[in-house]
């Protein structure tokens, strides 16, 4: 009984949870979402650039894209965040002011773009070569064909993977706390952590965890939904039709259809 009591006090102390809840909601959750969303948007843009470079026929585009991807995917996120967050602090100060917040977003964006670039590349390369060929045969140049036809198809195919990536970014956004954020800039983890130190139990962190789950769990279900929708296609069920009907139809429109056809 003592043990159970202890457990509840440590992890589920309602009082400390209620005390920290408003802060988690108005400061922590907001910052987590801002950091994650901004990193994702920048990551999507950079990722598309890296992907397009990566499938280029020119090695002067392909090789830098490869190195970039290998670098940011191969390093631990925390290392990248610290190197960029502290390494460029002076430089950042002259543009953004003293807060490490923008640098944290940039570091997360770079990491995200390496993963997103690979996702985009795989998606674009999975599009049937015939699509590009059909565009080219119609007189479109490579860029047009990619932008109008190939890339949209590739991107649609990898939507589930992109949502997964967004979930990963939300979780990784907790790492920017290493850069020492201002009080108003703290994200979920940091708010929970500070409160945990003050109250002497882990309940605020548990509540922070619950907030993470409230955001990420629906997203994982969104992934499943996308996955099903795109894997099975959206084909509407239709009554069985006869190919012969089509033959009759065609006979009706084309005066040329009648006559010798053997």
């Amino acid at each position: 009984m003592d043990f159970l009591d202890n457990l509840v006090k440590t992890f589920f102390d309602v009082d400390s949870m209620l005390t920290v809840a408003p802060q988690l909601l108005t400061v922590g959750l907001v910052n987590t979402l801002v950091i994650s969303a901004a990193s994702t948007v920048i990551g999507l843009v950079l990722g598309m650039v890296v992907a397009v470079m990566g499938i280029s026929t020119s090695r002067w585009l392909r090789i830098p894209a490869r190195i970039y991807t290998d670098l940011f995917r191969g390093l631990p996120a925390i290392l990248t965040i610290l190197l960029i967050g502290q390494g460029f602090a002076k430089f950042s100060q002259s543009i953004f002011g003293p807060s490490p917040y923008p640098l944290g977003i940039i570091a997360l964006s770079l990491i995200a773009s390496a993963y997103i670039g690979e996702i985009f590349r795989a998606g674009i390369q999975s599009v049937d070569k015939g699509q590009l060929e059909a565009c080219r045969a119609l007189g479109m140049n490579y860029g047009r064909a990619m932008v109008l036809v190939v890339i949209p198809q590739g991107v649609r195919r990898v939507l589930p993977a992109l949502v997964n990536q967004f979930i990963a970014i939300i979780k990784d956004s907790s790492l920017v706390y290493f850069l020492g954020l201002l009080v108003s800039e703290r994200e979920l983890f940091r708010v929970g952590q500070d409160a945990a130190v003050n109250t002497g139990n882990l309940s605020p962190l548990v509540l922070a965890g619950i907030f993470y789950l409230i955001v990420t769990v629906p997203l994982t279900h969104l992934v499943n939904y996308f996955d099903q929708r795109f894997r099975t296609g959206r084909r509407r069920p239709t009554a069985p039709t006869s190919g012969l009907k089509e033959v009759t139809e065609l006979d009706a429109v084309s005066p040329l259809t009648t006559g010798s056809n053997t």
Binding site: G130, L148, L256
Partner: protein
């Protein structure tokens, strides 16, 4: 053969251009695939290219519109050196139809036809849509304009693809086994449509396994093997009196 006898009022006629291949050579890497092919296709005529699998028929077609660049030799479109024109510009003058249709799956039939008119020819969107609708009606798909490719049969998809190519007002049409992926009962409709184009004055190069079509519609039949033209001539000559042993052998396998 390509007289304009049964052309109906709502089916436009075409002004096909001549096409000449002069000692054309093509290669993949350093492996020669097309070897010294010369061929003359008169304006408004249809040439059927037959030959065993791997003989280089598709490669030859892709050389004509430079989806794969020839390594040497010449292509003349309407007497003009096609290898000196910018490829994008050249391809606007040459329509191509593929075995697997290659329609854009996210777009309706109408959008498939209108896209290049709008984005390549720079037509206003409304005009492009208007013309696309007419082309679809001509291939018997006016009613299906808003269907996506996946909701169309193979035969219908291929007719959309033909309408898409025709909408660009090409001077020459290339067909690469346009009916090979179709269910048997749908083959006839597409072949009939192609025969109609031929009658209406389009210049066509048709790679096909449909010997009946070649015999009936072609002005000239070309038999290719191992990247070379082995025999070429009028269909009745090739089919009834094949001279080379290779063509005799081929015909005995496919007929």
């Amino acid at each position: 053969m390509s007289s304009t006898t049964s052309t109906s009022a709502d089916q436009p006629t075409f002004r096909g251009s001549s096409l000449q291949l002069k000692n054309l050579c093509m290669a993949y890497g350093d492996i020669p695939v097309i070897r010294d092919v010369s061929l003359e296709i008169a304006p408004g005529t249809t040439t059927c290219i037959i030959g065993p699998s791997g003989s280089g028929k598709s490669t030859l077609l892709r050389g004509i519109n430079r989806l794969h660049e020839p390594s040497s030799g010449g292509v003349l479109l309407d007497g003009e050196d096609a290898l000196r024109v910018r490829p994008d510009v050249l391809r606007r003058r040459i329509g191509m139809v593929f075995q697997h249709f290659n329609l854009f799956p996210d777009h309706t039939a109408l959008e498939n036809v209108a896209l290049a008119l709008w984005k390549v020819k720079g037509m206003p969107k409304s005009e492009a849509t208007e013309r696309a609708r007419r082309r679809l009606t001509e291939v018997g798909l006016g009613e299906r304009a808003d269907h996506r490719p996946r909701d169309l049969s193979g035969g219908q998809q291929q007719r959309v693809a033909i309408a898409r190519a025709l909408a660009m007002e090409p001077e020459v049409m290339l067909f690469d086994e346009a009916t090979s992926a179709l269910d048997p009962e749908l083959v006839k409709g597409v072949l009939t449509l192609m025969a109609g184009l031929c009658e209406r004055g389009m210049t066509m190069a048709v790679v096909t396994h449909e010997m009946g079509f070649a015999r009936r519609v072609a002005d000239q039949v070309v038999f290719m093997d191992e990247g070379e033209i082995v025999e070429a001539g009028r269909p009745e000559d090739l089919f009834d009196n094949p001279r080379s042993a290779r063509l005799q052998r081929f015909l005995s396998e496919v007929l």
